[in-house]
Structures are given as structure tokens and as C-alpha cells.
């Protein structure tokens, strides 16, 4: 028994700190900068002052159709200052989705990049950089939940 406890403690100690940390609603989102496949790079601190919907994609090979509803949702709320970014993590010969909104490309080579797990996930980040909502799960299935949360959230942001 003692051996098992010791072994588990060793495993816990061996785990990198990042693996134990999970971002949760209410946490400040650290700054990051990522290349975009359809324009200039994007940096989080540059958009402070505006609400941001950050959509983390799972395996995506030219998955534009899946994302179309999210793009329309973000564009329909542009008048409220909402920004929408997709984060694409390429695998093999995957093609990036062709979108009007920025599609950020995660690449381990760039030290300023950030990779969130688990994916897919949708983050609603407040104008002062705090994670207000985190919705994890298949993007098609969770669209209704995201839309409902978005409508409540954006009106709160508008009232602030």
C-alpha cells in the first residue's frame, strides 16, 4: 500500500506544472501571439477592451462548413464590438478552414503560442481579459449552448 502511495506521489511530482493547471472561468487569460493563416498575426493584449470569442478546433481538415454558424454568430455581434478567432492545430496534410474571421495557426515552433486542452472548446473572454465562459465539447453539438451563453454574456458586457 505504502509503495502504491509513494509511486503515485512520484508520478504527480513528475508531471509538468502546466499539465496540472487548467484554465477555468474567472481566470485571467495569459497573453499570446499566433500566426494567422488568413492575414496578420493576432495578439490577445492588443484586443483588450473588446469581448472575444476564441474557438479552439479539434482535428479540422478544411472544416469550414462546421464553423460557418460560429462565424455568423460572431459577425452578427460585431456591432457590440465582439471579435471572433478560430485556433487551428494542423495535423498531417490538413488544410486550414477558409474563413473571413482570423484563423490562428498553432505551431510549437513559436514560443508566444498557446495550446489549450481539451479541444474543441469555445472561450468567451471579457474585455479585460478574463475567461467568463468555457464550453467544452463537439462544436456542432454545443452550438445551441454557446449561442445562449453568448446572448446573455454580450448583453452583460454591453451594460458594463
Amino acid at each position: 500500500m505504502e509503495f502504491v502511495v509513494r509511486y503515485l506521489l512520484l508520478i504527480l511530482l513528475a508531471l509538468p506544472a502546466s499539465a496540472l493547471e487548467t484554465l477555468k472561468p474567472g481566470d485571467k487569460v495569459d497573453d499570446f501571439t499566433m500566426l494567422s493563416v488568413n492575414g496578420f498575426g493576432q495578439r490577445l493584449t492588443e484586443v483588450r477592451g473588446q469581448p472575444l470569442m476564441l474557438i479552439w478546433l479539434d482535428r479540422c481538415d478544411a472544416c469550414s462548413e462546421t464553423l460557418a454558424r460560429y462565424q455568423l454568430l460572431a459577425e452578427s455581434l460585431e456591432i457590440d464590438g465582439l471579435l471572433g478567432w478560430f485556433v487551428w492545430v494542423p495535423e498531417g496534410d490538413d488544410e486550414p478552414p477558409k474563413m473571413r474571421l482570423p484563423v490562428l495557426r498553432y505551431d510549437t515552433k513559436w514560443r508566444q503560442s498557446w495550446l489549450f486542452e481539451p479541444r474543441p472548446a469555445v472561450m468567451l473572454i471579457s474585455p479585460d481579459g478574463v475567461l467568463d465562459h468555457l464550453i467544452i465539447g463537439d462544436l456542432e453539438e454545443s452550438y445551441g449552448e454557446v449561442e445562449a451563453a453568448m446572448m446573455r454574456w454580450i448583453s452583460e458586457v454591453r451594460d458594463q
Partner: protein, 166 residues
């Protein structure tokens, strides 16, 4: 008998005091050695990292920028990646307005070093382009101040990047 024990006690105390004094002296000596070692290490660190002898500063500017817009830059010295930067639209606008971007400082030992900068971006037709500047720089004991200048090359409707020294 009492006298014997008194003398023995006094002798033991004196001997113990003498031993304590020797230990204290040893401790003081060790402390002094540690302080000296610390001073030497500090001096060595200063010699190794002194900005005057090892500092190499890299900057970037964009002249006109009609034929090229930077999206990212990677700078390596002697084959080792040292500086990376991803450009946002706002940063490129600032560069177009004449801003000089401090890319970063690198510690270089005196002597010759190969500096390679790869600037990725798009040309005036929206096509992906890569500009490369490679140069051998000689680092002396003075600080090295350099600027990567992205210039339009009007004759070829293109752009190039050059390493300039201040």
C-alpha cells in the same frame, strides 16, 4: 579531592574554550573564503554578461513597405534561434509610419558570428514571400548595434532585407 576536581574542571573549561576559539576562527575563515568566492563569481558573471563586451542589439525597420509586409521574423546566430516575432496589423502600421522595432538583445562573445534573419510576409500581390539576410558580424569589446532594414526594390517590384550597423 575537591581541589583535584576543581583543577580538572578549570582545565577542561580552558581546553574547551581554546577549542571553541579555534572552531570560531575556522568558521570565520570559511565565511571569508565564501565571500571572496562570491565576489569572484560576481565579477566573472559581470565579465561574461557585461553589456559592453557581449551585448548585441537587433532592431527592425520597414522602409516604404509597398512591396512587402512582414508577418513574422526569426533571427538566428551561429545556427541557434535567438529571436522570434509575430507581427500584428497594428505593429506593421507602426513600422510603416517609421517606427524602429527593438527586436531584442543577444549575448555574443567577441569574435565572428553568422547572423541569419528570415522575414516571412506577403508581397504587393498578396503572395507569400520570404526575405533572408545573412551576414558575418564581428563582435568586438564594444556593444554591437544593428538594424534589419526591409527596403523596397523598385526596379524589381520587390523588397529585400539588409543588416546595417549603427
Amino acid at each position: 579531592m575537591k581541589l583535584f576536581f576543581s583543577v580538572l574542571f578549570l582545565f577542561t573549561c580552558t581546553f574547551a574554550n581554546a577549542e571553541d576559539a579555534a572552531i570560531r576562527q575556522d568558521v570565520e575563515s570559511v565565511k571569508q573564503s565564501v565571500l571572496e568566492l562570491n565576489t569572484d563569481l560576481y565579477q566573472l558573471e559581470k565579465d561574461l554578461l557585461s553589456p559592453a563586451t557581449t551585448r548585441a542589439a537587433f532592431h527592425l525597420s520597414l522602409s516604404h513597405g509597398e512591396y512587402f509586409e512582414p508577418l513574422s521574423i526569426e533571427l538566428s546566430v551561429d545556427g541557434e534561434s535567438q529571436i522570434q516575432h509575430i507581427y500584428t496589423e497594428r505593429q506593421v502600421k507602426a513600422l510603416r509610419m517609421g517606427a524602429v522595432q527593438p527586436l531584442g538583445n543577444v549575448n555574443l562573445s567577441p569574435g565572428k558570428h553568422t547572423v541569419r534573419a528570415v522575414v516571412r510576409g506577403v508581397d504587393h500581390l498578396g503572395q507569400g514571400r520570404e526575405l533572408i539576410a545573412e551576414d558575418i558580424v564581428e563582435k568586438t569589446s564594444k556593444p554591437l548595434l544593428t538594424e534589419l532594414v526591409i527596403q523596397d526594390f523598385v526596379e524589381r517590384q520587390s523588397a529585400r532585407v539588409q543588416l546595417k550597423y549603427w
